[in-house]
């Protein structure tokens, strides 16, 4: 498209004016461009370069070719971490339907609507570390609220965040809980954008609220659902803080529950192997881009832009 406009522009406007227009445009985007370059593009390139080096803890690096990538693909720890990141992402995605239902419910109540929104949004504005600490207490195997409640029914609950078999799921549930707020706000705005006429017309035709939800709300909400899904996948694949706070170093569940970014932190900042860390970061970037591209391709099949 740009080729077409520029060819058309060339026939209409003199070259000098075109250049001056381009410069003016550039001047306007310059502040944003500088920020983008300094904070994203340059570090990205430097990370890419670092991933082909072995870097000392205080600087000084040697080029090692694709060594970091080769050892990464042979590293069982990396595959475990990748599996955990994918499990975590899949579970957090289950939070999207929950958010849709909650958003629809909140939208349908007449009183305390804002109160509900605030309540669901609170986890979003709470420090993730604080969230993790509180949930650690809730999940405590001996004294936690959950296991005390289970004990009332005679069930002996596990050490939720220390048992390697359940820890990743326990953390993922907190992931769902803390992502609900943002999702409900985005989806709630989507629901409010749907024309009331459609609901009135359908109720004249005899549709109940459940039928309305599936026939009107859900299809017209699909662009918001798509947006929320893409954002959830990206942030879940970058999961680090909850694992770090809730499971932490030295826990028996650490090894089996670490995510890709956790592994990155371990290699780059605990073991000082920055080249290897950079390779992990680049691989994760490629994975996130691929998954996001896949989502954009699939959305043609289910997203309805009314």
């Amino acid at each position: 498209m740009s080729a077409v406009t520029s060819r058309r522009g060339a026939t209409r406007r003199p070259a000098l004016l075109r250049i001056s227009n381009a410069l003016t445009g550039l001047a306007f985007v310059a502040p944003a461009l500088v920020g983008l370059l300094a904070l994203y593009i340059v570090p990205l390139i430097s990370t890419f370069v670092t991933s082909f080096t072995k870097t000392g803890p205080f600087g000084g690096s040697t080029f090692v070719g694709a060594d970091n990538y080769l050892s990464l693909f042979l590293d069982a720890e990396f595959w475990t971490a990748l599996r955990n990141s994918l499990i975590f992402t899949a579970i957090v995605l289950l939070g999207v339907p929950i958010a849709i239902v909650l958003a629809a419910l909140i939208n349908s109540v007449k009183r305390f609507r804002t109160t509900y929104r605030v309540l669901f949004f609170l986890p979003v504005v709470t420090l993730p570390v604080a969230v993790g600490m509180v949930w650690r207490y809730i999940y405590n195997g001996d004294f936690g609220v959950i296991n005390q409640a289970l004990a009332a029914f005679g069930i002996d609950g596990p050490s939720w965040v220390a048992d390697p078999d359940v820890a990743i799921y326990a953390v993922a549930i907190v992931g769902i809980w803390s992502s609900l707020g943002t999702n409900i706000i985005i989806l709630g705005a989507g629901i409010q954008a749907i024309s009331q006429d459609l609901f009135e017309a359908s109720s004249l035709d005899g549709a109940g609220s459940i039928r309305q939800f599936f026939a009107i709300t859900l299809p017209l909400l699909s662009p918001s659902v798509f947006l929320v899904s893409v954002l959830s996948v990206i942030s879940s694949l970058q999961m680090f803080d909850l694992i770090y706070v809730m499971i932490g170093r030295g826990s028996p569940a650490e090894q089996g529950s670490q995510t890709v970014v956790y592994l990155f932190f371990q290699k780059a900042f605990v073991e000082y192997d920055r080249g290897y860390g950079a390779a992990i970061a680049i691989v994760l970037l490629v994975i996130i881009m691929a998954v996001t591209a896949l989502q954009f391709r699939l959305q043609r099949k289910w997203v309805f832009y009314g």
Partner: protein, 417 residues
């Protein structure tokens, strides 16, 4: 992703600073008589350290020292980035497990000349502590304080079980006999805490069994004696006289001891103040030396004051570091009761500050102190220890198998240093 991009940016900026600073080089103001400012990086004990700094400034009106306090969680990341950028504090606290990383990469100021010029006798410090901070035969600082490990015990739980209190004559066999008797599943109390802990746990028993973690750049984990030191803890896990690893991950061992859930706890001298400040706990507990295995041993660790190799004022810095390691600084710190100063015969004030506890035990152990095991990149094999010993602790793999695997992986990592 934004996080690591930001982190990379910081590194890039730091690298740029490095080139800018190294051009300046060092200049020596010692002769010119103008006022020189040194910075001193620490992570706690702010008030005490300020008193030490004040005492130094009084003696050296030409030198102004600024204390920089960073919490422990940020301290090491900041120190590493600022060292890389050439802006690290002139003097700063160092720990044994990080020391070799800095020494091997020429980040620390060698002190041997200053030590011999000033006639400092290194014999006034515990030997294991001096050795811990020696790299390739060179000294980079003087010990500030130290900690040893003792056997803390809960007298109420011993009384309830009718077991006699531990004494200085206790051996492994006594602990092994007492632990099951002190365990009461109905009450949810355990005889001992057997966490997967290096400094307060298996490093001590490995040395007591006659084994070693690292020697001449090689792992000691395939040595049957080392494995015996691990087996000691695994046995408590196996016979149920300790909370399991999951319970200890949920509620750390020291908290279980404070809550009265475990009767015996191998814990550091650094917990004395915390236990003492808990009025409920104070009257219920006491401490003695670690029980002997094949031999007596305790891990000895501590803080060392070191100087930054790229400091602009190396002469003033050396003067300050020698002062920090001297008797006057030790006495100021002892008087506050916060730490055990490393300088000989200055520790009594610490012992006297908590008369209800037998803190003398921590000092009696000093001659049995063993070097805290470190290498140039300790963090790498520390991670292997956590990963590979966990299955031994929970019983899914034998200690021998786990330790042999650990030895192989650790040797690979050491070969790469």
């Amino acid at each position: 992703m934004r996080r690591w991009l930001a982190i990379t940016t910081v590194s890039v900026a730091a690298a740029a600073l490095l080139t800018a600073c190294s051009a300046g080089g060092s200049d020596n103001n010692a002769e010119s008589g103008e006022k020189v400012t040194l910075t001193y990086g620490v992570w706690s004990q702010e008030d005490t350290m300020q008193q030490v700094v004040d005492a130094f400034e009084k003696e050296n009106p030409n030198i102004d020292v600024q204390l920089q306090v960073n919490p422990f969680t940020d301290y090491w990341t900041k120190l590493q980035v600022s060292a890389q950028g050439g802006t690290a504090p002139d003097a700063f606290w160092m720990l044994g497990d990080r020391f070799q990383l800095y020494a091997a990469n020429n980040q620390l100021l060698p002190l041997d000349d200053a030590i011999s010029d000033a006639g400092v006798d290194l014999g006034v410090y515990p030997k294991a502590l001096v050795d811990l901070f020696t790299y390739d035969g060179a000294h980079y600082g003087l010990p500030k304080d130290f900690d040893t490990i003792g056997l803390w015990y809960n007298k109420s739980l011993f009384d309830a079980a009718g077991v006699a209190y531990p004494t200085a004559d206790w051996t492994w066999a006594d602990v092994q006999a007492a632990a099951p008797k002190l365990t009461d599943p109905a009450n949810g109390t355990f005889g001992i805490a057997a966490p997967l802990n290096r400094q307060e746990g298996y490093y001590n028993t490995i040395a007591q069994a006659g084994g070693h973690v690292i020697e001449d750049g090689m792992s000691g984990y395939s040595d049957p004696k080392t494995q015996a030191g691990l087996q000691y803890w695994v046995d408590f896990q196996k016979n149920g006289s300790s909370p399991n690893l999951q319970q200890l991950a949920d509620t750390e061992a020291v908290a279980q001891f404070e809550n009265g859930k475990v009767a015996m706890y191998y814990g550091g001298s650094f917990y004395a103040q915390r236990f003492y400040d808990n009025p409920d706990l104070r009257s219920k507990i006491d401490v003695t030396v670690l029980p002997a295995g094949e031999t007596r041993a305790t891990v000895i660790n501590g803080i060392q004051n070191v100087g930054f190799a790229n400091s602009k004022h190396p002469e003033e810095l050396k003067k300050f570091l020698l002062f920090l390691g001297g008797k006057e600084a030790a006495e100021i710190q002892a008087a506050t009761g916060a730490v055990i100063p490393a300088y000989e015969n200055t520790q009594q004030a610490w012992v006297d500050s908590m008369p209800e506890f037998n803190l003398q035990a921590f000092l009696d152990e000093v001659p049995d102190g063993v070097l805290y095991p470190v290498s140039a990149n300790t963090a790498v094999w520390n991670e292997y220890e956590d990963d590979l010993l966990t299955p031994a602790w929970d019983g899914s793999v034998s200690v021998e198998q786990a330790a042999d695997d650990l030895a192989t992986k650790m040797d690979e990592a050491l070969a790469k240093e």
